[in-house]
């Protein structure tokens, strides 16, 4: 029965398998998604998202922000967590597995549908100097992380995932980069853990730094948005500093959002070109499996460019984003189910060292730039 895919393939739709084969796994993803997030069209109130929201209420806000947002509870994290628990406690029945393989359809699907989210004109208001600074810091951080990762002799898929997520400041990027870099699930989650841990620590320490340097609110907002990135955590830092800084963080976040694709595409391209140049190097794993430039990345880039011309206006963008939530909820459920805990641990603590080293460097670099701007009275916003 162990027939290869090529043998049973009739058309490209063969990757969907038969309904009978795929349905159990799809249902598993579906129900995990349904009980994880408040998804468009689902009236189910018994979700992990709502449970966390209630716990937020019980614990009370931290720096006026909900605690579970600071801990990165979101539409990817919730179903992932639930999948991880189910998979590790109960195991994954064989009959689910064909269906769970839909994750590989859902990933490119979700990534392309994310494109309408990144509109450059939303960032324009912050002004060119800040956009250039943010861009430079992002590229420098990504490059540094890649170099440091190599020096730490980590697996290249692991450190490039960290590089992408850290430089863009968004943990979602680990999932976006997964099919691009062909990283392993354990690496992705290990990287995610590193980023979250760094963000959490930084979000509580950054205000201390800000107060020590007597930074103004706008500068501190810039520091937290580009120094931490991760939404809940950067607001924790900014609002922990002052209300004003918190409001400015909301303002500046649009820049980070708009630049994000450039960040992860940069990491992908570097790794992709590297793998083309040294295809036989035993240390090169990332993107190696791609025979040629992946089509879905090309489509993403095309859609991304098209979106800049306001092809997808509100609320079409909102509708597409609701689909992204559905998509990533399903995919994250499958990812959670696929991972035994030891596989996450297997990639070790080097990631933590790398993230903290690069992250601290980035904060130092940003702080220097901001202090210089303040010194020379250069208006950044």
């Amino acid at each position: 029965m162990n027939t290869s895919y090529e043998e049973r393939r009739r058309s490209f739709l063969s990757c969907l398998y038969s309904t009978q084969e795929a349905l159990p796994g799809l249902l598993a993803m579906f129900f995990i998604a349904l009980f994880s997030n408040n998804l468009a069209g689902s009236p189910n109130p018994l979700t992990l998202e709502n449970l966390f929201a209630w716990l937020d209420g019980v614990v009370g806000p931290v720096n006026h922000q909900p605690l579970f947002q600071i801990l990165n509870s979101n539409f990817v994290w919730n179903p992932f967590l639930m999948g991880l628990i189910i998979g590790n406690v109960f195991g994954v029945p064989d009959c689910w597995k064909r269906g769970l393989s839909y994750i590989h359809i859902l990933m490119p699907l979700g990534i392309i549908m994310l494109a309408p989210h990144f509109v450059f004109s939303h960032a324009e208001k912050a002004g060119l100097p800040l956009i250039l600074l943010a861009f430079a810091v992002m590229i420098i951080t990504a490059t540094l992380t890649l170099v440091l990762g190599r020096l730490l002799s980590m697996d290249d898929r692991h450190y490039s995932t960290i590089a992408g997520a850290l430089s863009t400041g968004d943990p979602h990027v680990v999932a976006i980069l997964m099919p691009m870099l062909k990283s392993r699930g354990g690496q992705v989650i290990n990287a995610l853990g590193c980023i979250l841990l760094f963000g959490l620590v930084a979000s509580f320490l950054l205000p201390l730094l800000g107060h020590a340097l007597n930074m103004d609110d706008e500068a501190f907002a810039v520091l937290s948005v580009f120094g931490i990135g991760n939404t809940g955590q950067m607001f924790n830092a900014a609002f922990g500093y002052s209300y004003e800084a918190g409001h400015w963080a909301h303002y500046v976040e649009a820049v980070r959002n708009a630049l994000m694709p450039a960040g992860f595409l940069f990491v992908f391209l570097v790794m992709f070109i590297r793998a083309r140049i040294r295809p036989h190097d035993e240390h090169v794993h990332a993107t190696l499996a791609h025979k040629r430039f992946p089509l879905f990345v090309a489509v993403f880039i095309i859609v991304w460019i098209a979106v800049q011309f306001h092809v997808v206006k509100e609320p079409a963008h909102l509708a597409v984003f609701e689909l992204v939530k559905w998509d990533f909820s399903l995919a994250a459920a499958a990812l959670g189910l696929s991972l035994p805990l030891r596989e996450i641990a297997q990639w070790g603590l080097k990631g933590v060292v790398l993230t903290f080293a690069s992250g601290i460097f980035r904060i130092a670099l940003l702080t220097l730039c901001l202090l210089a701007a303040a010194h020379f009275k250069f208006p950044l916003i």
Binding site: R9, K97, L100, H104, K182, F296, V299, L323
Partner: protein, 49 residues
């Protein structure tokens, strides 16, 4: 060595994604993504959203 988490008794590993199968999956994903976006835009432009 494959672990039981992702591989079934037939040796099908749902986290593997290579070759023609990967290509086909990408294709389905791309078609759906573009279709969803186009539909959303179309619905909006025709006043349905």
């Amino acid at each position: 060595m494959q672990h039981s988490h992702t591989t079934d008794e037939d040796g099908f590993n749902f986290m593997d994604n290579t070759g023609q199968e990967e290509h086909d999956r990408d294709m389905v994903g791309i078609i759906l993504a573009v279709a969803f976006i186009v539909l959303a835009v179309l619905f909006q432009r025709t006043g349905l959203l």
